[in-house]
């Protein structure tokens, strides 16, 4: 047998390190792992975007990250205590998510995958709606087009499927002339999230084909968190995933996804280029899932603690904190953020415990939006059947 050099195949039988931080030439990083501004060469064009940010905005990035981490930890605990069926932690990916979501404008349309809790929160979605999905009382959780939810779509659990929906929305924007008019405050764009594992799905490919063909105002935001459950990214691609987009002629950039400033800047520029009529853009954000895949997962089966530790040293929150401290943020600011995070976690716990049951009608009421005889019959049958038990011991 041929000696195989594939990490997918040779390291398979034991735990393994993900390949080293797979930086491609052209990686955009602004904030070093030590929290100091240390732009890579490719970051130069983006520095002005960061310079334009007010202190309040920088602090908001930090606040977003800290608060969601507290929420995420609380949700994980709630699952452990039997309150949720499952929880997919966002732990470690806060900078990629906050940077990109904060870069979107109000009128933009966002399509998360299923781990973008802070993206939803930033856009106005009540995180309890995510909790409700994972508790098993709803499949959706919220109405994307209720103005309070900031055009943020619900989670899609079939990996990659949402990329096509996003591209379809983008095609509609083109057909309706809602982008490319030159007015950045009104032109609409689409931002779609997916993972390194999902990138292998045919749907992601077809989405890029359609996006390039119709020149949708769309940003493909790939969070490469190094793992698809237990499978390292090298199994999905032996070349940096950022190159994938280039194959469609989609201008693409790789960013340090644990650097919230860089994530913000590249997303902001890409979204604005797309909304201005420049066609789709792709971003690969290098980050790390610091926790388990979900609460059902056991990462010790497939990765090493040394790998986890090496990424802990690149924690996006610590990095931003050091930076803000260096800029002279007040101790009271950090205390305030801690307090808010604590409060949000508390609130999450309380409201989760107070969540009611689920109405039976959810099963039948929305299978079709128009009347349907079979559904009517089954609804009626079930109601009669349930009634037949009233006052019955069985």
């Amino acid at each position: 047998m041929t000696p195989l050099d594939s990490p997918a195949r040779t390291d398979g039988s034991t735990r393994r390190d993900a390949p080293a931080f797979s930086e491609a030439p052209g990686l955009v990083r602004i904030l070093g792992a030590d929290g100091a501004i240390a732009p890579t060469a490719s970051a130069e064009p983006y520095l002005a975007v960061i310079d334009a940010l007010a202190d309040a905005q920088l602090e908001e990035f930090y606040r977003d990250m800290v608060v969601i981490r507290a929420f995420d930890r609380e949700a994980t605990n709630l699952q452990r205590q039997g309150q949720l069926a499952l929880w997919p932690p966002s732990f470690g990916q806060e900078a990629a998510q906050v940077g990109s979501a904060r870069a979107a404008r109000t009128q933009d349309h966002l399509f998360p995958s299923y781990r973008e809790h802070v993206v939803c929160r930033i856009r106005g979605v009540d995180p309890l709606d995510i909790i409700r999905v994972m508790r098993g009382v709803t499949h959706g959780g919220w109405n994307p087009y209720d103005p309070k939810n900031g055009n943020t779509h619900i989670y899609t659990l079939v990996l990659g499927a949402q990329t096509l929906h996003a591209t379809g929305v983008g095609m509609g924007l083109v057909f309706d002339g809602k982008s490319g008019t030159g007015d950045a405050d009104r032109d609409e764009a689409v931002l779609v999230y997916y993972g390194d594992g999902a990138s292998s799905q045919g749907d992601v490919h077809e989405s890029m084909v359609f996006a390039a063909s119709f020149r949708t105002p769309e940003v493909f935001f790939l969070q490469n968190n190094q793992w698809a459950i237990s499978v390292p990214v090298a199994t999905q691609s032996r070349t940096p995933l950022v190159r994938r987009g280039e194959g469609y002629g989609i201008p693409s950039v790789q960013v340090d996804g644990n650097d919230v400033l860089a994530s913000y800047a590249v997303s902001r520029v890409a979204l604005d280029e797309a909304r201005a009529g420049g066609g789709p853009r792709a971003i690969e954000a290098l980050t790390y899932r610091m926790g388990a895949h979900t609460t059902s997962d056991d990462p010790t089966k497939y990765r090493t603690s040394s790998e986890e530790e090496s990424w802990a040293r690149r924690d996006p929150i610590a990095r931003m904190r050091t930076y803000l401290e260096g800029r002279g943020a007040a101790a009271s600011f950090f205390a305030d953020v801690e307090a808010e995070a604590h409060a949000v976690a508390e609130d999450t716990r309380e409201r989760t415990m107070a969540l009611g049951g689920i109405d039976t009608s959810v099963m039948f009421d929305h299978v079709y939006s128009e009347q349907h005889p079979l559904i009517d019959e089954e609804r009626r049958w079930l109601a009669d059947y349930e009634t037949s038990f009233e006052g019955d011991a069985r």
Partner: protein, 340 residues
Amino acid sequence: MTDVTEAPTQAAAASTVSTMPLGKALTAGLRRALAENDRVLLMGEDIGPLGGVFRITEGLQAEFGPQRVIDTPLAESGIIGTAIGLAMGGFRPVCEIQFDGFVYPGFDQITSQLAKITNRHEGALRMPVVIRIPYGGHIGAIEHHQESPETYFTHTPGLRVVSPSTANDAYWMIQEAIASTDPVIFLEPKSKYWQKGEVDTSAPALPLHASRVVRRGTDVTLVGHGAMVTTLLQAAALAESEGTSCEVVDLRSLSPVDYGPILDSVRRTGRMVYAQESPQFTSLGSEIAATVMERAFYALEAPVLRVSGFDAPFPPAKLEGLYLPDPDRILEAVDRTMAY
């Protein structure tokens, strides 16, 4: 039944009846839907300048422009998936799948997305998407071009599935399907595209989800859809000459099924034969047989019999005459049911 008030109903002056092939009736129905609602758009492979491989969209891109009648990249999952996004953006996309056998690459987007999105959103989003699929045999074509995939769709909650068998139904049902706020799988009996019929553009004869008795009879009830309706009528004529009176019901709607006219008929005849081109095992025909037997148990003199394509892949074209139910095979079943 679907509320059809959304379908265009304005009365036209003078004669509103003309004769045209089923395929051209579809073109006319699509044209009217495009004209009456500028959120309607057509998308698919080769539907633009070529007008589709069956020319159903012929002339429509020239008339409505390339943003309303859209040639897409060659990818069925992409077509359905982006149609979903377009529907999210308020459009009413009508997708053409070039042939029955090419719908499967889009199956996940149909089954796990299109069919379930309204339910997943608890009614907050609607999915007025139509998927047009030319289906069935009788055209002597190569593999994947003659299949009858209806059961995959009828088994999927959230989808509506219909199939016209006449030009008039084609004209109206496509418009009603487009007007529906639910996803509709619109199965076009491709071998009947050239079959002419009268089209009355003044008002639809029946709602989208109604079945219809197309021939009265007293001894046996024959039921089917699409191209099979012609075959059933031929069988009924032959049976008559042999002394057996057959009632024929055109299903029109495959999901939901309008059991009213079927049960009414079976209660009178006591016997029923269902005909379909698709394989039989776990098919729409199985459902209808099981349900009719359940609901008209005491009325039945014989089990409901099914005449179907065999439980084999659609064969090479030269064998299609053997594979597809023809009047003789239906008569054989009629004879069998009469023998009970």
